[in-house]
């Protein structure tokens, strides 16, 4: 049985739909990622699962409890970390942790082993005010606080947004460690590269789920030809490439453009047709989650 299961969940604010008919399940012990841009409805989904909002229609079950009826029970078994930094900046690291232990009615000693790998890193700064910590340290403290009561389910809303690349990577290492303790984690991120670190991901956009699978299988489903192209004048290349026959899609991708093509597409003809643009190169590319996301989004 899935530890999180949603059934046709919908939610709108003042007539503007934020979540539309969402149904998915997260297995026990999974590290499940919600991947999508801002406005995809990720935060709304978290707030529904954290019993902070009531759904307009549909229902969801977390750890065997219904989010509408048994919300008090859910609140004891989830650890929720909102997107914004939500600790007290005027309290010290230690005071924050103590407060959250009191909030959940637990003794820090009991759950110390669980948070130790994370908390040890910020313990040298335990008397520092939380507001004066660096972005990465703030996230570690927030995660420690969310884990203080050994939750069955961890809900992390964009935990790595606004955090430097090294701290981001460290943070994901910690999530992998937590997985070994048997904690189910639902995490959202707008960064496609982080999706690879999840067991399974759901690609979401505009309140809908576009696809759910393991990152490997999601990219494997990309069944069109994909090329990476570049030129001296990238903007001109983008506009020109979109008009070439056989090109389904062309979009900026990092320093290059990615080009999705159908079976009639021939790279050599492509180069010859664009000979008026200087330095055009084209080479086959491996599809990434982002390519898949763009493809699903356009469908």
């Amino acid at each position: 049985m899935n530890i999180i299961e949603t059934y046709n969940l919908s939610k709108s604010y003042n007539g503007v739909s934020a979540l539309n008919d969402i149904s998915f399940g997260v297995e026990q012990g999974e590290l499940f990622g919600l991947i999508g841009p801002d406005g995809a409805g990720k935060t709304t989904l978290f707030r529904l699962l954290a019993t902070l909002l009531n759904p307009d229609s549909g229902s969801a079950v977390v750890n065997g409890y219904d989010i509408a009826k048994d919300y008090q029970k859910i609140r004891s078994c989830i650890g929720y970390m909102p997107g914004r930094f939500s600790l007290y900046p005027d309290l010290s690291v230690e005071e924050n942790l103590n407060f959250f232990a009191a909030l959940f009615g637990v003794d820090i000693k009991e759950s110390y082993s669980l948070i130790a790998p994370i908390y040890k890193q910020i313990e040298p700064f335990k008397s520092r005010r939380a507001g004066k910590l660096s972005g990465g340290m703030k996230q570690k403290l927030a995660l420690s606080c969310a884990l203080i009561h050994k939750p069955a389910v961890l809900l992390l809303d964009e935990p790595t947004t606004g955090v430097d690349a090294v701290s981001r990577s460290e943070f994901w290492d910690m999530l992998s460690q937590l997985k070994e303790s048997g904690i189910t984690t639902l995490v959202s991120t707008p960064y496609m590269d982080e999706a690879l670190r999840c067991d399974r991901i759901a690609l979401c956009n505009e309140g809908r789920i576009l696809g759910i699978d393991t990152p490997a299988r999601i990219t494997a489903e990309f069944n069109s030809k994909l090329y990476s192209i570049s030129a001296n004048n990238m903007y001109a290349l983008l506009n020109a490439a979109r008009k070439i026959e056989g090109v389904i899609e062309c979009y900026p991708f990092g320093e290059k453009h990615h080009l999705v093509a159908d079976n009639n597409f021939n790279p050599e003809i492509f180069i010859s047709k664009l000979s008026y643009i200087e330095g055009v190169t084209i080479e086959p590319a491996e599809p990434t989650i982002e390519d898949m996301f763009i493809k699903l989004m356009k469908q």
């Binding site: 019993t51 005027d90 959940f104």
Partner: protein, 364 residues
């Protein structure tokens, strides 16, 4: 779960203690208001310069003038002539002139014998400050007529506050005002701050009942208010010499009730406001202004237009200030202000009930 309640209180206290600026303001404002209203802003008569016009000096006039100059509230500035009155008042050298009628002694005996009832003494007052002028006239009359009571039509005696000290009047008003500021405004802002910074989301998503956290929030503010209350009472008693003859017990009991009421008001504001600014504005506009204008703090309720008199009934401070005046100045015991107390208790229950009902366990 019991001991964690005090953890919440501790956390709230830390918030307050670390916010030194706010702490300072809360502690200083009452003292400032007390000193300001007690000394600087006053309608009481103090060191009023008085000149006397007496065409025919006599013993009885000298007696009256002597009483006047022995009085702390007036300073006798000498005899002047009828022609000098205008100039002296205009230059501000004196604020009041007492004019005795010519041939005062003879006319006085005529009045005493009931032959005539024409006025014998004229008081000319510089009324550019209405409050001072009013008090000065009233007090001058009191002194002069009190001396010659046989010639007065009626005798006025100022009970409870014979010197018409304005501090007596303002202290209860300041208390009604300051507790709303500390309890209602600061509590509401501190609750709303959690909403604004997003910590409320985490609090709500925890198994602790949010209302328990809210009550834990109120305790430190309640404690601060108690300190402020003691401070105000000490200042009132020893600096402004307010009699408080009704007994400190009654004053304290009713003030504590008013504190609870103010905290409930704060909770109520926090259920409406979503941002700290909104909470501040609601507290300031909906609570402070009516308290200043309609509670009897600045203007007597009887002087208000009928509509505002009716409105003033729903303002808690009105009843609190009324009861405090009775207890502090008239020396009434707690039992004598039972009507005000019952109204305040009723208001507390209603506001608390509405706020608790409105308080949301979820985000919307």
């Amino acid at each position: 779960m019991k001991n964690n309640f005090w953890q919440f209180v501790k956390k709230e206290s830390l918030h307050i203690i670390r916010d030194k600026r706010t702490m300072l303001v809360v502690m200083l404002i009452p003292v400032m208001l007390m000193v300001l209203f007690g000394f600087a802003i006053s309608t009481e008569v103090n060191n009023i310069n008085v000149a006397v016009v007496a065409p025919d000096r006599s013993n009885s006039i000298d007696d009256a003038v002597e009483t006047l100059s022995n009085n702390n509230y007036f300073t006798f500035c000498g005899y002047i002539t009828q022609e000098q009155i205008d100039e002296k008042l205009r230059s501000g050298e004196v604020s009041a002139v007492i004019v005795f009628t010519p041939d005062y002694d003879r006319k006085l005996s005529q009045v005493a014998a009931g032959i005539t009832s024409a006025p014998l003494i004229q008081v000319i007052v510089d009324a550019s400050n209405v409050n001072t002028a009013n008090s000065a006239t009233a007090y001058l009359q009191n002194i002069l007529l009190g001396k010659e009571s046989k010639q007065s039509m009626f005798e006025t005696r100022m009970l409870f506050n014979p010197q018409m000290k304005s501090a007596y009047n303002f202290v209860p008003g300041i208390m009604g005002f300051i507790f709303i500021l500390v309890c209602a405004m600061m509590t509401s802002v501190s609750i709303v701050r959690e909403k604004e910074t997003g910590t409320m989301e985490v609090l709500l998503a925890s198994p602790a009942r949010p209302i328990k956290i809210i009550f834990a929030k109120m305790i430190p503010y309640f404690a601060i208010s108690c300190i402020v209350l003691i401070m105000i009472l000490l200042l009132a008693r020893y600096l402004l010499e307010v009699p408080m003859s009704g007994g400190v017990f009654g004053i304290f009991t009713l003030s504590l009730l008013y504190l609870v009421l103010s905290l409930s008001l704060g909770l109520f504001v926090s259920t409406i406001a979503q941002t700290q600014i909104a909470a501040l504005l609601i507290s300031a506009m909906v609570m402070m202004m009516p308290i200043m204008m309609l509670s009897g703090l600045l203007f007597p309720i009887e002087n208000l237009p009928l509509f505002f008199q009716v409105v003033s009934n729903i303002i808690p401070a009105r009843w609190y200030i009324d009861a405090m005046r009775k207890m502090m100045i008239q020396g009434a015991p707690l039992i004598a202000v039972w009507k005000d107390s019952v109204i305040l208790i009723g208001m507390t229950i209603i506001i608390l009930a509405i706020s608790l009902k409105k308080f949301n366990n979820k985000l919307e």
